[in-house]
């Protein structure tokens, strides 16, 4: 079997964004494929009883600082989204809809950037539509795809799979049965892929 890393993520998670900026390079260097696993983090929190770090104010403040430090280390742009938390149900259904299509990379790129670089209020469906249009998507078609039963069921299934496999937050990676949580575990994943 060829080498692969499974990447469970939600575009509403800043740590997922940071991981996304680094993972393709790591996978390429190891000759591994990324198996994209869009999930609904809110659903994972609900199922596991976990909470966002921002619900503990001191932790939220520090987490922001920590993400900025990592963005500097990775040399990638990062802006905290003032509209956070954002309900990502529609966006993640969109990710699921585009998952196995040629437009997937472009979709993730535009959504992650709109969320954590520009940052836009993606709680607003009109802003979502504008964002997609600007990036060359047909927003009407994209939203229709996102609301298709296939996308809804696919996202739900991946979220349930995540919980079953022990995921409690985002991003989470698997190399085989080994699980890592957090964008700060990328060096471990690189090492596991070299061994695989």
């Amino acid at each position: 079997m060829s080498k692969q890393v499974e990447f469970f993520f939600d575009v509403g998670s800043p740590a997922s964004y940071l991981a996304w900026t680094q993972l393709p390079g790591i996978a390429d260097a190891a000759g591994a494929a990324i198996v994209w696993k869009p999930m609904l983090l809110g659903g994972v929190f609900k199922a596991t009883g976990n909470r966002s770090p921002v619900e503990v104010p001191a932790k939220g403040q520090y987490t922001h600082r920590d993400l900025v430090r990592h963005a500097e280390r990775y040399q990638v742009p990062f802006q905290y989204n003032p509209h956070f938390p954002i309900n990502t149900l529609l966006l993640m259904r969109g990710a699921e809809a585009y998952r196995d299509t040629p437009a997937f990379d472009a979709y993730l790129h535009v959504v992650f950037r709109a969320m954590w670089v520009e940052p836009r209020n993606l709680n607003d469906p009109e802003e979502v539509a504008r964002t997609l249009e600007e990036a060359g998507f047909d927003a009407g078609e994209a939203l229709e795809q996102a609301q298709s039963p296939r996308a809804k069921e696919g996202l739900k299934a991946t979220t349930e799979e995540a919980v079953t496999r022990g995921v409690f937050g985002a991003p989470t990676f698997f190399v085989g049965e080994e699980m890592w949580f957090g964008q700060d575990r990328l060096d471990w994943i690189a090492a596991a892929l070299r061994r695989a």
Partner: protein, 196 residues
């Protein structure tokens, strides 16, 4: 100016133990001086509304795996105590009482290794006095020391200060006003010290 790093810790915390095993390396690589800041983690959690990771079962399971991975990376022993968490108040008062004494390094070692390697119950007064004796501290003297009002006050003051400065868990490091949380941020601490 001497470069200094403050180390807020509690013997009850696995990550504090792991961080402690790496402090000699930190000192070697940066020439820093460690300012030991014993605190009561339970009180910090209560004050900030934070919860220990095992309160979320999936997170608790993963954290054990994660800590075991780091212990292997560091090449240090780590065995979960049969009873955890325990109330480490007396042990932490001992850390405050002996902070400026020659027995301090041996005392800290006895407590951390007693709990995280040899499964000694740090809530048991007899065990504590035995471990203190291993560090060259007489039983009678130790019992008196941990009961002193100024010792209790200093530990409470450390804990209050930690919360005021934004600490929500252990271990937490400060280099000046820059705060770093977790044994997995040692490389950031080292970088900061090299800049300082």
């Amino acid at each position: 100016m001497t470069r200094q790093v403050e180390f807020f810790f509690d013997f009850v915390s696995t990550a504090s133990y792991l961080a402690w095993t790496q402090l000699p390396r930190l000192v070697r690589e940066t020439g820093t001086e460690i300012l030991w800041r014993p605190m009561v983690l339970g009180a910090v959690m209560k004050a900030t509304g934070n919860q220990p990771p095992p309160s979320i079962p999936a997170k608790g399971r993963y954290m054990r795996t994660d800590f075991s991975r780091w212990a292997r990376r560091y090449g240090v022993d780590l065995h979960y105590p049969s009873r955890h968490p325990v109330n480490t108040m007396a042990a932490m008062r001992g850390a405050v009482a002996y902070l400026d004494r020659p027995e301090f390094p041996a005392y800290v070692r006895a407590m951390f290794e007693g709990f995280w390697v040899h499964d000694r119950d740090l809530e048991d007064t007899d065990v504590l006095t035995e471990l203190a004796r291993e560090a060259g501290i007489g039983a009678e003297e130790f019992r008196e020391a941990v009961d002193r009002q100024d010792v209790k006050d200093r530990l409470r003051a450390n804990t209050d200060e930690a919360v005021e400065r934004g600490v929500f868990g252990a271990p937490t490091f400060f280099v000046g006003d820059e705060m770093f949380f977790g044994q997995d941020r040692l490389d950031f601490v080292i970088e900061e010290l090299q800049r300082a």
